[in-house]
C-alpha cells in the first residue's frame, strides 16, 4: 500500500510481514461489509448536493419546481448553461479568476519555497526570531486586516484593481512553514557539495532545491491554486467593477439577481465548481497524500 512506501517500511519479505498479512485478512473479512455500508451511505450524502446541482442545471424551469422530484430531467436542456454564459459573462469571469489565481499562486509558492529554504537550511543570527515573528501572523484572522487593508488600498489608489487582489497576498505563512519542514528532508551535504563545485546560491536554489522539493511543491501549488480560485471576501470588498469580478463574486452576484431561476443558478454553480474539480481529480493522489506529507506528522 502507498502509505507503507511513504513511511519507509523495508520491503523484504520476512516472517513478521507474513504474519501481519494473515492478521489483516482475518480482520478484513470480519467487519468490512458493515464498513462499506456505512461509508457508502455517507458517500451518498456527500455527493447528493453535486448530483442535484447537475440534475437541476439541465432542467427547464417548470421541471425544477415539479413534484415529485426527478433525478433525470424529462426534457433535458442546455439552455441554462447558455443563459449563464450570456448573463453572468462567464468567459470573462473564468479569465479573470484564472489570471489572478495563477499569478498569486506563482508568487505564493516561489516566495514560500525561498523563505522555507532560507529558514530551514541556513544558520544565521536572528533566524528563529524572524521566522517566528513572521509565523505569528498566521493566527491573525483576516477580519482584523479587512478594514485597514481596504483603507490602505484606497489610499494608494489600488481600489478596484488586480494589484490590490494580488499584492497583499504575495507572501504566505502556511506554505513557508511547510517548505521549511520539507527542507529538513533534503540533506545539507548536497547543498554544500554544490557550493564546493562553485554553484551560486540562486543556482542552488533554482536547480537543486526546487527540483528536490517537487512533492511539497505540487501539493502546495494545487492547494494554493484552489484557495486562490475560491477566495471571496477580499475580492468582494476590493473589486467594484463587474468586468473585473472573479468567479466567486460573480456567482454570488448572479445568484442574488436570478435566484428564482433554479436551473440557471445551478448551471452557474456547476460552472464555478467544474474547473477545480477536474484539476483536483487529475492530481488527487498527490493532494490527499500531500495533506499527510506536508500537513501533519501522524
Amino acid at each position: 500500500m502507498a502509505n507503507q512506501d511513504f513511511v519507509g517500511v523495508p520491503s523484504q519479505v520476512d516472517t513478521q510481514a507474513l504474519r501481519r498479512g494473515a492478521t489483516e485478512i482475518r480482520r478484513l473479512s470480519r467487519g468490512t461489509l458493515f464498513n462499506y455500508i456505512i461509508l457508502g451511505a455517507g458517500a451518498i450524502l456527500m455527493v447528493v448536493p453535486f448530483i442535484w446541482m447537475v440534475s437541476t442545471s439541465f432542467k427547464p424551469q417548470a421541471e425544477t419546481v415539479s413534484f415529485p422530484p426527478r433525478l433525470f430531467p424529462i426534457n433535458p436542456t442546455i439552455s441554462n448553461y447558455i443563459d449563464v454564459f450570456d448573463r453572468a459573462n462567464m468567459g470573462r469571469l473564468y479569465w479573470n479568476t484564472t489570471f489572478v489565481s495563477v499569478i498569486k499562486t506563482i508568487f505564493n509558492i516561489y516566495t514560500s519555497a525561498l523563505l522555507g529554504y532560507i529558514f530551514g537550511k541556513f544558520i544565521f543570527r536572528g533566524r528563529d526570531i524572524i521566522f517566528y515573528i513572521l509565523l505569528s501572523t498566521w493566527i491573525i484572522p483576516f477580519e482584523v486586516y479587512l478594514i485597514p487593508l481596504y483603507l490602505m488600498t484606497v489610499q494608494v489608489g489600488w481600489a478596484n484593481t488586480y494589484t490590490a487582489l494580488i499584492v497583499p497576498e504575495i507572501f504566505t505563512v502556511y506554505a513557508m512553514f511547510m517548505f521549511r519542514q520539507f527542507m529538513y528532508t533534503i540533506p545539507t551535504e548536497l547543498v554544500d557539495a554544490a557550493r564546493i563545485d562553485g554553484a551560486g546560491e540562486w543556482y542552488i536554489f533554482h536547480r537543486i532545491i526546487i527540483p528536490l522539493s517537487k512533492a511539497a511543491l505540487f501539493t502546495l501549488i494545487a492547494f494554493y491554486f484552489m484557495w486562490n480560485w475560491n477566495d471571496f471576501l477580499w475580492p468582494l470588498v476590493v473589486i467594484a467593477d463587474q468586468d473585473k469580478y472573479v468567479i466567486t463574486v460573480g456567482l454570488a452576484t448572479f445568484v442574488g439577481e436570478y435566484w428564482s431561476q433554479h436551473g440557471v443558478i445551478m448551471a452557474g454553480a456547476s460552472l464555478a465548481i467544474i474547473p477545480i474539480l477536474v484539476l483536483f481529480i487529475a492530481v488527487q493522489r498527490f493532494i490527499i497524500e500531500g495533506v499527510v506529507l506536508t500537513g501533519l506528522k501522524g
Binding site: 446541482m53 516566495t111 484572522p141 477580519e143 433554479h262 477545480i276
Partner: protein
C-alpha cells in the same frame, strides 16, 4: 580550478560565506518590509481606527477613545452575534470532529475502494463555499427544495429551513460540517497511520475484539490528533462562516445566523461604521489569541511538528 581545490581543502571559504549572506539578505529584506507594511502596520492602524468614529465618506473622523468598545458592551445585537458565533463554532466543530472520526475509523481498515471513498469525502473541501452554499440553499428551499420534497413524500410537512429562527443555524452548521468533513477525515487517517500495527496484533493475540481495540488502543493514541482537530476547529470557527452565511441566509432570519465575521463585514462595508467594525475585529483577535495560547500550552510537545 585552483580556487576550487583550495576551497575543497579549506571547506567553506570566506567568499562563499559572503555569497550566502548576500543571498539571505536579498531574500529577507523585501520579506521583512512586506510583512511590516501588510501584516504588522495594519494591526496598529486597525486599532487606531477602532478608537475613532470612522466612516468611509466622512471627512472628519473624530477620536472617541474606547467608546466603540463600550458600545459593544451596551449593544443588544452584539451579545446575540457572540452567542450565534459560539453556537456555530462549538456545535459545528464537535459534531464535525465526531462524524469525521467515525468515517476515519471505518475507512482506515478498508483496502479496496478506499481511494475512491477518500476522493468522494474530499470533494466538498475542494469546492468553493460560495458554490456549495448556493446548492444547499436550493436544496433547503421551502417549497421546491429537494429535502422538503423528499420529506413530503414521507408525509412530513415542509420545514422552512432557512427562514426559521430555529432551523436556520442548524442548516448552516450542517452545510459547514459537510464542507469540512473530508479534510478532518484525512487528518485522522494520518493520525491512525502513526499507530504501530504491532499494538493491534499483540492485543488480538490476547483475544481483544474490535470494539476493545478501538476503545483501548485507537482512541487513546489518537487523542492528540482529536484535540488538535477540536482546538483548531474552534479557533477557526470564531472567525469563520462568512461565505456560507452570506450566501444562505445573509445573517437572518431576525439575525439568528448573524455571526461575528458577517457582522464585521456588514458594519464595515454595508453600514460603513468602520470604527465600530474595527473594534469588533479586535474582540475577535483577542478571542483567537487567547485560544491559540491555550492550544500552545496544551500541545507544547506536538507543536514543533
Amino acid at each position: 580550478m585552483i580556487q576550487t581545490i583550495v576551497q575543497k581543502l579549506t571547506g567553506r571559504g570566506s567568499t562563499l560565506r559572503a555569497a550566502e549572506h548576500r543571498f539571505i539578505i536579498i531574500a529577507l529584506v523585501p520579506t521583512i518590509i512586506f510583512y511590516a507594511i501588510v501584516k504588522f502596520y495594519p494591526i496598529f492602524f486597525s486599532f487606531f481606527i477602532s478608537l475613532h468614529e470612522w466612516s468611509l465618506f466622512g471627512n472628519v473622523s473624530p477620536f472617541v477613545g474606547l467608546d466603540n468598545y463600550a458600545l459593544l458592551a451596551k449593544d443588544s445585537l452584539f451579545p446575540k452575534v457572540m452567542w450565534n458565533t459560539m453556537y456555530r463554532t462549538f456545535a459545528g466543530t464537535f459534531l464535525g470532529a465526531l462524524f469525521a472520526l467515525i468515517v476515519a475509523l471505518i475507512l482506515n481498515p478498508i483496502k479496496r475502494g478506499s481511494i475512491l471513498l477518500r476522493l468522494i469525502y474530499f470533494l466538498p473541501v475542494m469546492t468553493s463555499v460560495i458554490a456549495s452554499a448556493t446548492i444547499w440553499k436550493w436544496m433547503l428551499q421551502t417549497r421546491f427544495g429537494l429535502l422538503n420534497q423528499l420529506l413530503l413524500m414521507l408525509g412530513i410537512a415542509p420545514v422552512p429551513w432557512l427562514q426559521s429562527t430555529t432551523w436556520a443555524m442548524p442548516s448552516v452548521i450542517a452545510m459547514g460540517i459537510w464542507a469540512g468533513l473530508g479534510f478532518t477525515v484525512i487528518i485522522y487517517l494520518a493520525g491512525l497511520r502513526g499507530i504501530p500495527r504491532d499494538y493491534y496484533e499483540s492485543a488480538e493475540i490476547d483475544g481483544a475484539n474490535s470494539l476493545q481495540l478501538a476503545l483501548k488502543i485507537t482512541l487513546p493514541l489518537l487523542k492528540p490528533v482529536v484535540s488538535f482537530v477540536l482546538i483548531t476547529g474552534v479557533i477557526g470557527g470564531f472567525s469563520g462562516g462568512f461565505q456560507a452565511i452570506y450566501m444562505m441566509t445573509g445573517g437572518g432570519p431576525l439575525d439568528s445566523t448573524r455571526v461575528l465575521a458577517l457582522h464585521i463585514y456588514d458594519y464595515a462595508f454595508e453600514r460603513l461604521f468602520m470604527g465600530q467594525a474595527a473594534s469588533m475585529s479586535f474582540v475577535l483577535f483577542a478571542i483567537v489569541l487567547v485560544l491559540t495560547l491555550v492550544q500552545f500550552k496544551l500541545q507544547r510537545v506536538d507543536w514543533e511538528l
